[in-house]
């Protein structure tokens, strides 16, 4: 385990995020892995980011907001490559 791309401890953080959102049986192990690899403060802060975006996605999708103009144009190319435009929530939400 270690880097994912340029992100230090990226793999551990992704597994932790996945397990947290799913509330899966693997969560205790994923939590312990982050704690041992990074430290308890880092674990707490990672959990806070999970919580923050569990909140923010529901605000965005609950109100149907469009992408901000400063993000819409620069993101067009990679949205397609990454399949983001195929998300159910993408319908009618991409451009002004």
């Amino acid at each position: 385990m270690g880097k994912t791309g340029e992100v230090e401890h990226g793999r551990e953080l992704i597994e932790f995020a996945d397990a947290s959102v799913a509330r899966s049986a693997s969560l205790p192990a994923a939590r312990q892995t982050v704690r041992e690899a990074m430290g308890p403060k880092e674990l707490v802060d990672a959990a806070a980011i999970v919580g923050n975006f569990q909140r923010m996605v529901r605000i965005a999708d609950g109100t149907g907001i469009q992408l901000d103009e400063i993000a819409e144009v620069p993101s067009r190319a990679f949205r397609g490559r990454m399949g983001i435009d195929e998300f159910a929530s993408a319908q009618g939400r991409g451009s002004h």
Partner: protein, 242 residues
């Protein structure tokens, strides 16, 4: 940690994070713009019930949310349209649509009440998810405070870049000068501006993230790429386009 809102937590939680959570949790029990304190506490309870609702799980797996019918496993006696809205936002927000919100409205759930539901549900999900991630018990239900809803609706709110009225960028009145002081306000911070206190509550919870997109004085122990990796992953798991 003696006296912590999170109870007997084995991890060190930043003071600003704990304070923000305490204030947000108390906010949930206070009368809002359209819901009483007791009703808002019911919305909290219903959000939690939604997370284990079998009908929601069945519907989430269906090709369309309209492909299945059934009854929600609910925890309150809130009106059925409210229960439906709470459960949809909690478990299947990515497939909400303008049509769904119009259907809620036709069933008596007007836009102000709906936006306040979005505020309560999203606040609860954020805090409960934080607790889940750390293996902590959920906070006890907030204490319902007496008083009547304010029935305040900003005069500037109108249809804009979403499915609900909001204060357009740069057009807030003096009542909302405290929350829209910047030249650029991302849509996600204007999304609930039909209920301005919902935006104030959201800003208080910035301790869970970083203070602003351009803020380099990060309060967290993670570096920026790590923060954004988690953010992007959680967003992708929820299929959130924004």
């Amino acid at each position: 940690m003696t006296g912590s809102i999170f109870g007997d937590c084995p991890y060190p939680i930043r003071e600003d994070l704990e304070t923000a959570t305490q204030r947000a949790w108390e906010f949930l029990g206070k009368p809002g713009n359209w819901w009483s304190g007791a009703e808002r506490v019911d919305l909290v309870a219903e959000t939690r019930a939604a997370r284990d609702c079998e009908f929601c799980a069945e519907r989430r797996d269906a090709l369309s949310p309209y492909a299945v019918s059934g009854e929600h496993g609910s925890a309150t006696s809130l009106p059925s349209v409210v229960i439906e809205a709470v459960h949809r936002i909690t478990t299947d927000a990515a497939r909400l649509s303008e049509q769904a919100i119009q259907e809620f409205s036709a069933d008596g759930l007007d836009d102000g009440r709906y936006v306040e539901i979005v505020s309560v549900v999203s606040t609860v999900l954020g805090i409960d998810s934080f607790c889940d991630a750390l293996g902590l018990a959920w906070l006890p239900l907030p204490e319902a405070q007496p008083g009547e809803p304010s029935k305040y609706r900003p005069a500037e709110a109108r249809p804009d870049v979403g499915w609900v009225p909001m204060i357009p960028s740069g057009e807030n009145g003096s009542n909302e000068a405290d929350i829209f002081a910047a030249t650029f306000v991302p849509n996600v911070f204007r999304a609930m501006s039909l209920v301005p206190d919902a935006v104030r509550n959201l800003r208080r919870l910035s301790a869970y993230y970083v203070q602003s997109v351009g803020d380099t004085s990060l309060r967290t122990s993670l570096d920026r790429p790590q923060i954004e990796l988690i953010a992007a992953r959680v967003s992708a798991l929820n299929e959130c386009f924004y």
